[in-house]
Amino acid sequence: MALIELKHVVGGYGGAPILNGVNMAIEQSDIGVIVGPNGAGKSTTLKAIFGLLRVTGGTIEFGGRNVANSLPDALVPMGLSFVPQEKNVFTSMSVEENLEMGAFTRPDDFSETMDWVYQMFPVLAEKRRQPAGELSGGQRQMVAMGRALMSKPTLLMLDEPSAGLSPRYVTEIFETIVRVNKEGVGILMVEQNARQALAFASRGFVLANGQNRFTGTGPELIADPEVAKSFLGG
Amino acid sequence: MSAASPAARGWDSPLLRGLLLFAAMFLIVVVVGVVQGQATMLLILTQATAFALIALGLNIQWGYGGLFNFAIMGFLMVGGASTVFLSYPVNMEFWNSDGPMLLGRALLAFLAGLALVLAARRVDRFGIRGKGKVVVVALAWFAGYVIYRSQIDPAADYIESTAGFVGGLGLNPVLGWLFGGLVSAIIAFFIGRISLGLRTDYLAIATIGISEILRALIKNMDWLTRGTMTVSPMPWPTPLPQQLQAAGMSIADSFVSARVMFLALSVVILIVAFVLVQRAYGGPWGRMMRAIRDNHISAASMGKDVTGRQLELFIFGSILMGIGGAILATFTQIFDPSGYQPINHTFMVWVMVIVGGAGNNWGVVLGAFLIYIVWIISDPLAQLIFLNLSAFTDNIGWGAIPEIDSRALQMRVFVLGVVITIALRYAPKGLIPEVVKRT
């Protein structure tokens, strides 16, 4: 049984649906990457999973249950975590407080997890008392990811993690994502940096007009001339 | 705003709904008239007419412009004070005394202070910019204030101790009403310049503050408005009951006839204003206003002068409020600054507009009449309830309820709150909502 499975998901923000029957399956060992043109419904898919918009058709199965239209504070304890693209840190709170907020739903002692996050992002350990708003773009992205990891998710979803970052940070973020995945967290992310992201994707999904166009492993999709021509800029 | 479907039937059809509501309204008026008596009915109707005018003004500001004006009470006071100044009989004592000269000096001092501030703002021509300029301007304000106070304080004291107050010009009250509109427009201009850039909640708070300042000013300028000692009686544009009695009418008839004439005059003014506003709303100017209201940002990006248009709306609305306030003051024949309360004036007008239907002139007029009647009859109704309740508690040994009169009066406030809450829950767009025509 897959960690998470989307079957014919239809949904939108009210009005015409943006997703018109999306299918997807991810295992906990996978790094899933969603690519496609603007307006294809990539971010919308993530938001649909996380209960941030209305799903009007199809099912989203996580941990054996249909969680479509559940609220985030029910999903986080179940092991789902989400890093939005923008405004993804609490700017007035310190780095450490941001991480603490990620662990809000955990009833147990989360200091081990916090050590793990600091190990993964050493620069955050240095700046733990600084307000997150004072950090650079790349560092903020790390805080955002760290916050999402504090709830010890089985599936981590990221919306364009490399957006607006300098190339050095982009590589670092992707390397971290691979490392996190090796430590047992499933990854599902949306990316504009299609080629770079698909390079290490174990499952790639090309979406257009709210529907699947191509599915395969990342390297397969990169190698496919049709995909390359239409979606990856040749 | 949702568009009106042309095929809507029954309650949803705006025309039918409007007619039904006005018919119901008419019925209520008749019932109240029978219970309370003709003269009282006419009193209620006239004041409701004035409030309808004021509500139209708020509709222009809020319904058309999305401007959160909570300074309504202030404008009503300004209108009242203006008509006092213009229509109250001339106070010869004042004109014969040194008063005018002292006031003239105070006026000069005011102008001198103003010139000082304006000059200070030009100081960047001499190379003083930034923080230095701010300091200079602040000093100019301070100096101007001190100069003005040095002249006006003795002038005010003198006038108050000799003639009492400035008195009026003895002109026709209708001119006084128009003057009320004019002064309101001027004040609206200044208020608008300062505050219209603020976002809605801030604008609300800012306008409440301005209203309070206006009230404090008017209440304390005894030399101009007689302050808490009040001005009365104010003359009417139509014959007063006393004048009709002198001509031979019976007392009861005189009240009815006099009020009928005043009412007729007020209704005429209301109709004129209504027609003007309706025409403007339907035309291109109105469309542009609504475009701005519904989306500032895109309108601004299309080159429309958003703040300028908002200022226009603010001023036009205030003119109607000033006139309405003047009519009220003239009708009750008393101008009492302490009698103005935010609840009675500002909030009630807001309830009228929201319950009636913001953005729809018919709705707003209906709302005005409806709410005002509800406001007025809450008191006697509450009295009835309290008296019965009191008899009951007396019987079971708890004793009668004290101060029924003043408590029943407070019922009005409570009822107003309930009405607004229910309206927001069940009819947020109002009884007769705005009808958006597809262009």
């Binding site: 609220l71 985030p72 504070d73 986080v76 304890p77 989400f82 939005p84 405004k87 840190v89 609490f90 700017t91 007035s92 709170m93 407080e97 603490e100 907020m101 990620g102 809000f104 739903t105 999402a148 709830s151 | 300062i194 505050s195 603020l198 976002r199 809605t200 909640d201 801030y202 609300a204 708070i205 800012a206 503050g209 301005i210 309070e212 300042i213 404090a216 209440k219 304390n220 609840i343 909030f347 807001w350 004290p402 101060e403 003043s406 408590r407 407070q410 019922m411 009005r412 406030v413 409570f414 009822v415 107003l416 709150g417 309930v418 009405v419 607004i420 809450t421 927001l424 829950r425 947020p428």
Partner: protein
């Protein structure tokens, strides 16, 4: 020396009392704005409601014949706070939450809070009448006089017992709030939600719980502020209606959403008001000996006549909105 004592009595002490009241009220407003994103106009009436709850409890104690060394108004405060908090939750559940669920704009919520103001005002007047009363149901105020003759002053510094207790209570509450916001998980979640409500939800924070806690805090603090105001002045139905404006000004000046800003703003405005209506001549009297013949200080050199006291808060508000709309601590704005 006498002038300094006069200054301390009139400005320092009464300014601090007023500042405490403003601060406690402003904290509620700023928290509600930060978390629920609307201007809670009915806060003044929530303060009045709290004061009347205290009054009822104090009267009940007095009727039962219980006399205490402290003014009963303070003794009943914890219970009154709880009751007011429950009432605040009820207000939200009954009037604001349904509108929020329908996606109402902040403006609509403001109007709803006006409706609530009117209803509370009306109810209080209906039940208690519109007269003024004293909240001291038993003994009158104790006044502590500090003899200042040892520094050469001929008058004592006066602090009334209630005022002293007010300082202590305010300090305690502020410290408690600070600890709550910085040390507890729920407090931090509140700050998070005020910072970024969407992200707070995404992080799994129970936003409904945070909203409830906000009303509890706002309600209890409003109760304390209202009771203190009644103790300092007198108890009447429109008690706090008049200070809605200074309280909002305090919250805005401090930066909407920032509790500390509200405290600073409250004291700032209170002292500005007190200083503005203060008769400086009393303090500057020694200068009269220095000035040349013919020039004397006017009898009343107050910057602003007492009737215009309200305008001080308003002027500060306008200046803030024009110069630095986000306030001292950079809170929410447009």
């Amino acid at each position: 020396m006498d002038e300094l004592i006069f200054f301390i009595n009139r400005v320092l002490i009464s300014g601090t009392v007023l500042g405490s009241i403003y601060a406690l009220g402003a904290i509620g407003i700023t928290l509600i704005f930060g978390i629920l994103r609307f201007a809670h106009f009915a806060h003044g009436d929530m303060m009045t409601m709290g004061a009347f709850v205290s009054f009822v409890l104090a009267s009940a104690l007095a009727a039962a014949g219980i006399v205490l060394p402290l003014p009963t108004g303070f003794v009943v405060l914890p219970v009154a706070m709880i009751i007011t908090a429950i009432l605040a939750l009820g207000l939200d559940k009954g009037f604001y939450a349904p509108l929020r669920a329908r996606g109402a704009r902040p403006v609509t919520l403001l109007i709803a809070s006006i409706g609530v103001t009117l209803m509370i005002q009306g109810l209080i007047r209906l039940i208690f009448g519109s007269g003024t009363r004293s909240i001291y149901v038993s003994a009158p105020k104790d006044i502590f006089r500090f003899d200042m003759s040892w520094i050469g002053g001929s008058r004592p510094i006066n602090i009334t017992e209630p005022q002293l207790i007010m300082f202590v209570v305010t300090a305690l509450l502020v410290v408690a709030l600070h600890l709550f916001l910085t040390r507890s998980r729920l407090g931090k979640a509140m700050r998070a939600m005020a910072d970024n409500a969407d992200l707070a939800q995404v992080s799994g924070i129970n936003t409904a719980l945070v909203v409830r806690v906000t009303w509890v805090i706002a309600g209890s603090l409003a109760c304390v502020a209202g009771t203190m105001l009644a103790l300092d002045v007198a108890l009447m139905p429109d008690l706090a209606f008049n200070i809605v404006l200074p309280i909002f000004a305090a919250a805005i000046v401090g930066g909407l959403g920032h509790a500390y800003g509200a405290i600073v703003g409250g004291f700032l405005i209170a002292f500005a008001e007190t200083l503005a209506v203060f008769n400086w001549t009393a303090v500057l009297r020694p200068l009269n000996n220095v000035l040349p013949e013919g020039m004397a200080l006017p009898a009343n050199l107050a910057l602003v006549p007492t009737e215009y006291k309200l305008t001080v808060a308003f002027v500060i508000l306008v200046i803030t909105l024009l110069v630095r709309p986000t306030g001292i601590f950079k809170g929410a704005s447009t």
